[in-house]
Symmetry: D4
């Protein structure tokens, strides 16, 4: 940089040339440091997740292979069971282990020697059975981040008494955070947050029709909740809820 | 009508004239029957409510006097205390009784000899203190329709245990319907409906800011409620909730 | 609870242990009471309704069998005729009676000895033929709750005169409540409420396209109605309207 | 134009220069024709309306004077009574006549010799008293276009029988079009359109609060109306409704 | 009615019985007058239009046959060509004439002796080719009401010069009203209204994607238009535009 | 309960009486357990926050005194400096300490002997200066829950380089969670989440005008973030963000 | 025009006839000038783009042939590969060259002798792989306008360091403008605009689900961006972005 | 970095310590490069603009002084004339020049020796007078960036002929870009873009009431425009339009 300025000062370079060179220079240096940073990205311990919807099988298999080779683990979400085959066929079986979580519609692909050390506990609760897909997404991701995951599904608001037993179990297990998935009016996270002193992640799901349907009412209810201690991820974003829960649990589990 | 058709048939009238006369005729007859109907409107026993916002004092006083003279009772909503005076001054005191419900911001004006026979019981519950204005609107209207009104305010969702005592009291009193007013996430009507077999009218209030604020989230939650047995009126529409509750209670109270 | 506090007082337990135990304890006790409450849920007399959309046939059959065994009656909504077979096949025919309401797309499954005593009357009106599915949902549910249901469909706003005969019939029958289903501009509930002193439940349906389509305009019109005495359920929510009407009619019918 | 092309052909002009000249040329010619068109604009017989809100008094007076001088008439809308004075003071009184329509909040300023020949009839109806401002705006504009205007305000939906008498009167007067102003649920235009064979212009007003309030529900209802023969202008746009009605009535009145 | 009141006065009837009878009575009388009104509905000269979408072929054929028998003409909209056959097969060919307008996706079915006398002229313009379906709907309906319809499609805003020729032709023909169909930004109706003194009906179409797509931007632009003299029907509502235009043209054509 | 059933069995009670008693009974028992629960609510360590907007000074002072007496600490939000006086005057000075956080517009009132043991660390970052009010709300609440709070305000996205220093400081301090407040496009939380492995709470603020203004775009951006590990609270809901951060930090800090 | 006025003056024509003639006259003249303008449209150098969605193959082929014959080049967007065949078959191969850009889903059809002189440089960047279709649309259009296009796809916000290298390359190449395509939270255009002094066109894409999905959040973020120097086209409107970039680059490239 | 890894390899550091150090290290390095970047930010030649709304006078004066001292120029937007004084008083008059643009509500403060070299030309057009504030904001910013700005205000769509003269003038002046400000239906940018081959920046303004009011319809129309070559900034965002235009003009002006 000094070089350029000297050339400029000595008149060997016009101002416009210098400005252009300086601009290129600055960007280049940032680029270099940023490249060093690639390693850090992996150290974050957050597995990247491949969103399968709208991608063709070959491309998915290629992406998955690249990712599992480099990071030891690859997750694929919104994946149909029949597309799973294509991915499995593309992998050299002796090196990798493939799992398919039917309820989450997710694939988990690991190098055989990939190990995840357990680092925290989270709880996941759903209001209904239709919320389970999102909940399982969260479970798969948090598990891949090394969390022990306790689940209890279909607790409903209509039958609030079904909520107490699993909540007790989660308190005893000392989970660091509870993900509560709910559609329709989305009241369950509020109820949970009013009963426990554990952070709650609201996971609205696209259940419900008519006004406020497709998760809108659930999302707004969680944002409006008068019970403190709730934060929300987007509708059906089980992946996001899982990553956040994983990060919280790891901090607590250290 | 036959007359017109005969004139037409005998060629004494053109088709266009006949059509015009017939059209006028039909509308006139409907008009006549409709006029007979005026009496029925009063018999409905639903007091009309004057919405004061945006009307000037003189006009309000005039409207109220007309209405109370004709129907024996007049209600004025969204009325500031200072505007109440104007109305009171405009009424011949020896004939009429004026009341002002500070919390509902409503005036109740009655002929001295106007009597309301008690015809049913309703309960009104609010989630917070900010919901009370709407709740009291409902109370004023239902009372004017002859209902006994039991209220219990500020029960919150955050402290769900505060809900049981008043609910028990309302069940024992055999109320025909419960109005539940709530803003923010509006979960209280769902909780109530899941605990009792009494019809619930959800009354969303414009409490809450940000996304889903001003009653939107409350309204949508009540519409999306998975607990059956809830219907909703518009945001802050205590008047509507009160009329509906009054009609239900009167049917049940007969 | 006292036990824990004594252990704490005598130093045999740390504060943190005690707090944890107390928290578990409180939740456990609530849980126990809540369990007693299971019976109450059934006594509410509101049949739970299985939402069939998106569930597979086997799972539906299993759910229905469980529910009918336990409660004597099971309702399944949004059920295609062809899926009805699967449910019927799964039931031991000699014990249960199956009905399928084509227009409501609902199944009603009863133990042969399940009896519903009649407890009230409701009326159901629709503006058009496209509103009938939602109206029939309401009818099925209210019937299962023991209500006698009077219906009159396709009365339209365009031909308002078609409305009078059925309304007269419902007044004579002394129905406790009228459900009015309408899509598009949703004006019919307002018209009905302005003519009768019977509580009106507005049931907006997802009829109509363009701005305000899919039931939005109908819903908003009912919420904005200047005729008092209307409450609304969500768009297409015939189930909710039926439950609410059933609860109202039973109160009145006692 | 040919000139330019010749210069280009003969090499006396570069392509770039020619292109630029051609472009300028084309726009200039359009401009010239367009200028001829100015006269036509006035012949349209639609008075321009000055929107007063947010403009200061001096500027308003200047605009009004210019317009009345050029076109013989000037209308000013959304004008407070106190701002009217400023305009009147700015006009040489002997030449111009000023009127202020309190209910429309509009000023009508005419040259003394400005004459409007009567060319058609329109009817205007409002559902409530709060809809009158918008209705009067329409009346002022249509009157200035030479229409005879029949009005009937505050007919309500709640008391539908009040509608028949004025409708009969308008049919007898053979109005070419009816403007129906309504807020809240906005059902009145549908009711009118189902009773008469006169074109209906729906004029939604910003009356109503909560969901669908400020005219939204009224607008959507009119757009969704199942009674054919309704078109809508924007919420509170009395000016637009008046112009359209004036154009229709003039065609019919010729 | 007097009868009832006398029975009441003489004590032969309780107040409750009398009230009930009076209520039934009033409704009955309205009903009777309303029935007289059936004839008027037909005289309105607005053909009812059967919306085919979502109805099965048999039901459509039945509806169409009933309507054409009673009113001499029947229109069916949103009808696929292949469903047209079913309708034609159901009609006794010697009595009825069937036409299918491919571009409007509408069927026009007439009794052989059904005559429509011409009563006015309207113009229809579209911005693009995708707007033609809605435009043709309007044309079919207005034609069935006896209007002569002049059309000019695909004039675009992008090539505004294409607009002048057809507008000139419509002015010369003295059309009473112009329907302007446009999607996307929906600017064409504003441009037309600024050029002519003919009433304009804006017909927004569901053309366009992204923000403001599916007709929303077109609808709002037409509502916001600063060129006076435009009213709007709902998105894609060619039927409504046609009826309104027909009513306007008939008034003018008399 | 058994008692009731025996009376029923022996015929000394009707079914209806028994059902009513059982219902009352169940609710009463739940009520009793719930009351035991009151203590737990306080143990949650989440201070309740009084929302001052729209409440009068006297009522605020009364509420605050009650709360601080019972719980040792009271927080009041959205409080104007001048209203603070009223609260301070109402408190016996020798017992209580009052603080007013000008930037958060919050009051913190403590018993003199009220102690908060430090239990965790959180970081708070804002994009601009207008986001500070919400950020400080979070700080006040988290501090009251015993958290050490590190803040760094006005880091902007426009000058992304300003972000690195404070982030480094927070990583070194091992904060358990970072709250990132941002208005307008709300991109900062995404940027932070992509750089660190600390859970991020997005706090959208109502900064920005036009489309997506008042926090809407910020909220949606945070929900849509492709960087995992973000959850959101409602627009301007610093209180909620603070409670959640406090709960997370306490878990981690144990 | 003078002619008409003279006839009017001499009484040989009525006012009404004259007005009509004048009106026709004015429109005719404008029309004539406008016709001259057709050439100008082509000179603009912006290729028209045929939107294929919803058009049938034959019609597409016809349109394309017309356009390529007249303008030398034709672009077809949203075209499936299989529909490309139909177009190619319809063209006389010896005269035209057809290309299909698979990623853009666009066809480029040129006369063999059609030449485009290079006139500027633009850069295109995408956040993810799903944004490439829109980006390639822009590339195809800008290329057809004679621009050299530099692209760099899938730079993500999550891995911001991947951004520096391509940005440096674009600065060095002195592009006149950068199109930045992004879905979900749409933050990339802001980041780019904060790093460079090149104009940025934000191209939001319909990537993302839930609240703010389908491009809404991306669009709003770009509109709300606090980094100056960004303008936006509609969601997925690669065509529009390409035209604008082409116009900017040509100006700069002169 | 290698150092840390060696310490780790030799066992002198635990993995956790190393990870933490590496993370701090990476962020530190990025921070250092970023700092070098500060200079570049200024070189961008885009003046930062202080948004005055909601900031108090003292703070504004302080911010402005800082900025003008450092960058030679400071712009303040949304500034009331009376607040301008406060800023002027705070500046040492002999060093700085203050200007206030009344129509833009902006202050421009310059060091006496601050020079801006002219680097390009832009045009600004408005549809109405209410759009001028936003237009002048753009003018102030672009001028401060060294652009010559040609303006022509109040051209309207209603009187499209007023548009040609100024457009011709701008073409002749060879402006690099035209900003077109419009509220209500926002059609003007489309019209301009269809007439010229200059890039158009649409600047929607918050003019208009009712549905689509406050700039929404204008924004959507510009996004939906079928005339290519338009990009949009947010409603009323004159600043953003000015910066973008400035960047484009400078590129072209080089």
């Amino acid at each position: 940089m000094e070089e350029i300025l000297e050339l400029l000062a000595s008149g060997k370079m016009t101002v416009r040339e210098a400005a252009k060179l300086l601009r290129i220079n600055a960007v280049k240096e940032i680029g270099e440091v940023a490249r060093l940073d690639t390693g850090r990205w992996n150290r974050r311990g957050v597995p990247e997740v491949i969103f399968a919807e709208g991608k063709d099988r070959k491309y998915l298999a290629k992406l998955a292979l690249e990712m599992v080779t480099e990071e030891g683990i690859a997750l694929v979400s919104r994946l149909q069971a029949e597309d799973m085959m294509a991915i499995e066929d593309a992998l050299p079986g002796e090196e990798f282990v493939c799992e398919y979580n039917e309820r989450a519609k997710m694939a988990i692909i690991r190098k055989k020697d990939h190990e995840i050390s357990l680092k925290g506990k989270i709880g996941i609760i759903t209001a209904g059975t239709s919320d389970i897909r999102a909940a399982e997404e969260a479970k798969v991701v948090a598990s891949a981040m090394g969390c022990e995951v306790l689940t209890s599904y279909d607790l409903g608001v209509a039958g609030i008494h079904r909520l107490f037993e699993p909540l007790k179990m989660m308190i005893e297990a000392e989970v660091a955070v509870v993900i509560v998935a709910a559609g329709m009016e989305g009241a369950l996270p509020s109820v949970v947050a009013s009963l426990v002193d554990i952070p709650v992640i609201g996971l609205p799901t696209s259940v419900g029709y008519g006004a406020g349907g497709k998760g809108l009412s659930a999302l707004l209810s969680m944002l409006q909740s008068c019970a403190g201690g709730i934060a929300v991820v987007n509708i059906d974003n089980g992946i996001g809820a899982g990553i956040l829960a994983g990060l919280i649990a790891r901090k607590a589990g250290r």
